[in-house]
């Protein structure tokens, strides 16, 4: 692929906060018009990467270009070409929807006529035009997010960063926003999306990067990522067990061939395992601990299975938030529990 066709080029990018390597020497490229997904547990380095690419955080080392401009040496050019929908809403409660767009449009040196026409266009597309003169504080979370997206799109960016854009939204708004993200990409905007929703990543992203402990552990299409499990003689087993106890689950989790165990409902286990004879080992272990396996089916691995396979099942507890919202010296540290 020709270099010119990439909207994002990242080379050995790192961000350290003291001893903590929030992002550790990552490299990837995103071609124009692609929806590129970032998946990762809390504190994995997704938001830090986005903040660096948006020029909100300075990399410790490495380089990156966004829309053809270097994030360190040409920050203003980068800013002119990007839109950001951050984890926190960028919306003033005491300004109306239109005043919000007006302010950010002027801060981006847009002409008054352009703010007016594009503001109207986006608010209409996002179903917020009739609320244009209402204060931001009176909106529901979904309405706020729609105005927030209109704000980010106002400058007609070539690259759009969306950090968990559907977090906390109702299913209707989530669906509408996902549809809108697809339309953005179809219109030629490159989209970088972080999410915890596997279904969202599967439905939207052309390629998905799984990031953990600051490292990219996998980067491919959804279909190819799923092959990580099958190609590695991996299997996803749906087992119905009678007389299941904590001991049976623990014993199953303790097997070397088992990568992840989930309990979608009482008496059922979803086991991700790899290696020859894995199915037999799982069933024997469950029965040796007093469980009676009534039914066992192999399933197609889902993205979540791949995600858990690569990042593990341990819960991540962050002591410090991933990255300061607008800078600030952070002596970050992270604690992990099993």
């Amino acid at each position: 692929m020709d270099e010119q066709q990439f909207d994002i080029e990242v080379e050995g990018l790192s961000k350290h906060f003291g001893d903590l390597k929030a992002v550790n020497n990552i490299s990837f490229q995103v071609p124009k018009g692609e929806i590129f997904g970032f998946l990762g547990p809390n504190g994995a380095g997704k938001s830090t990467t986005i903040r660096m690419l948006c020029t909100l955080a300075r990399p410790t080392s490495g380089s990156a270009k966004v829309a053809g401009y270097d994030i360190v040496t040409q920050p203003d050019e980068v800013r002119r070409n990007i839109g950001l929908v951050a984890e926190k809403l960028i919306l003033y409660d005491r300004l109306t929807a239109m005043e919000n767009l007006w302010f950010f449009g002027r801060m981006n040196h847009m002409r008054k006529e352009d703010i007016k026409t594009r503001g109207e266009e986006w608010l209409k597309k996002l179903g917020m035009w009739e609320w244009r003169d209402k204060l931001g504080g009176t909106f529901s979370t979904g309405m706020k997010q729609r105005v927030n997206i209109a704000r980010a799109l106002l400058t007609e960016p070539s690259v759009m960063f969306l950090d968990e854009p559907t977090l906390g939204l109702d299913p209707q708004t989530t669906r509408a926003i996902r549809q809108f993200i697809k339309e953005m990409a179809e219109s030629g905007i490159t989209v970088v999306l972080t999410t915890h929703e596997m279904a969202e990543a599967e439905a939207l992203c052309d390629r998905i990067s799984i990031i953990d402990h600051g490292n990219i552990v996998a980067l491919d299409t959804d279909a190819n990522l799923k092959k990580i499990l099958s190609g590695d003689e991996g299997v996803v087993l749906d087992v119905e067990v009678e007389g299941m106890t904590d001991a049976t689950t623990t014993a199953c989790s303790g097997l070397d061939c088992v990568k992840a165990v989930a309990e979608p409902e009482a008496g059922r286990l979803r086991v991700t395992a790899t290696g020859q004879g894995a199915i037999r080992q799982v069933i024997e272990t469950l029965e040796s601990e007093g469980g009676i396996v009534k039914r066992a089916n192999t399933l197609e691995p889902s993205l979540e299975d791949v995600f858990l396979h690569l990042t593990g099942t341990e819960i991540r507890d962050e002591i410090s938030s991933s990255v300061p919202s607008s800078g600030g010296p952070h002596a970050s540290a992270k604690k992990r529990i099993r």
């Binding site: 948006c54 020029t55 909100l56 955080a57 300075r58 920050p75 203003d76 050019e77 800013r79 002119r80 990007i82 950001l84 951050a86 984890e87 926190k88 809403l89 960028i90 919306l91 003033y92 005491r94 300004l95 005043e99 302010f103 950010f104 002027r106 801060m107 981006n108 040196h109 204060l135 704000r151 300061p324 919202s325 607008s326 800078g327 600030g328 010296p329 952070h330």
Partner: protein
Amino acid sequence: MKRFIRFFGDSGQVTKKDLKDFYRDRARIVSFIIMPLFMMIMVGFVFPSQSSLKDVPIGILNQDNGAVSTQVVNALTNLKVQDSTKKVMIVKPVQNEAAIKELIQKQELSGAIVIPAGFSNGLLKDHEQQKVTVVTDQSNPQISSILTAMLGQVFDQMGKQMSTLAIKSTIGTQLSNSTVTALVTPMVVETKGLVAGKPNYFQFVAPGVIAMVTMMAVMMGLAGSIAREKEQGTMDGILVAPVSRFSIIMGKTGAQTVRGLLQGSIVLLLAMTLFHVKVYGNFLIMLLVVILGIFSFVGLGILVSAAVEEQETAMTIMMTVTFPMLFLSGAFFPVQQMPGFMQAISKCIPLTYEVQALRQVVVLGAGLSEVLRPVLILLGFGVVTLAISVPAFKRVIAT
């Protein structure tokens, strides 16, 4: 030139947005007006002075009951507050010294006067010096010292009247009235100020309150506003716009300056209408001093804003920084009364120079040449703190 215009354009947008945001926050608007009003009333009415002392409960243990002691009790009972019909004291007769102690302990009396037995006879017949005891309430040293001074003046005045009468009744027949007065009071002091009118504590303190209110508005407002935007996430929206970080700071400072000046104007208006404070100097020089005062605080405000992420932390730090400044700057108490080390610290605080210059302009009618030194110091403070804080803000914001 284009960059220069764009810089001010960007700052202007931030200022406009912040003021609109402020204008629509009713709770903040109410506290914005109430704070200076409250400060003025507190400072004007709560700080006791000789002229503001009224209805103070005083016990009198009159063990004499002679002509002179009765005259003293009557004089104290009828003592009026300056330029008022209100009485200074509510005089309550007390039976014995134990009762005085008990009533002061119960806070029913603020002090007491003991006139010993034989007081009148001693003065009129034996011509011997007599002693009156003033018992004070040590739990309230300020009221006690004012009361002691006032009673001292009353007894001094009465003593002089008695001396005049005594001299006249003995050798005074050969002397003129003025000679008798000169014998009793050989020296008098005449106080004359630089400007007309009586010295007034409020005239002294009003410039301090104006400086304090503008400083609080700017420092707390700036740090609070930036921290709030960081906390809410809206600061990211501004920072991903292609505008200089300095123009963002200046825009925020612009909004806080307008607020500070409005609050300062409210204080001045209240001082002039409620407390008859008169501005003897030029209003434009006053405005210049206030603006330079704001300029000198901005750097510190920016530094704190850069360092903290949360509004609450910003407010706590600002309170810690501003509170000692209020007392050390001479806004309420003269710097000259402070111990040496405190005077040295006060010289390092820009508020000291703002208060000093404002006081010179407001109270003494000083012109620009007289306040040039504090004005230049304020300018210097502003330049130095901005030179430190702006790069620090830029560096931290890009971390």
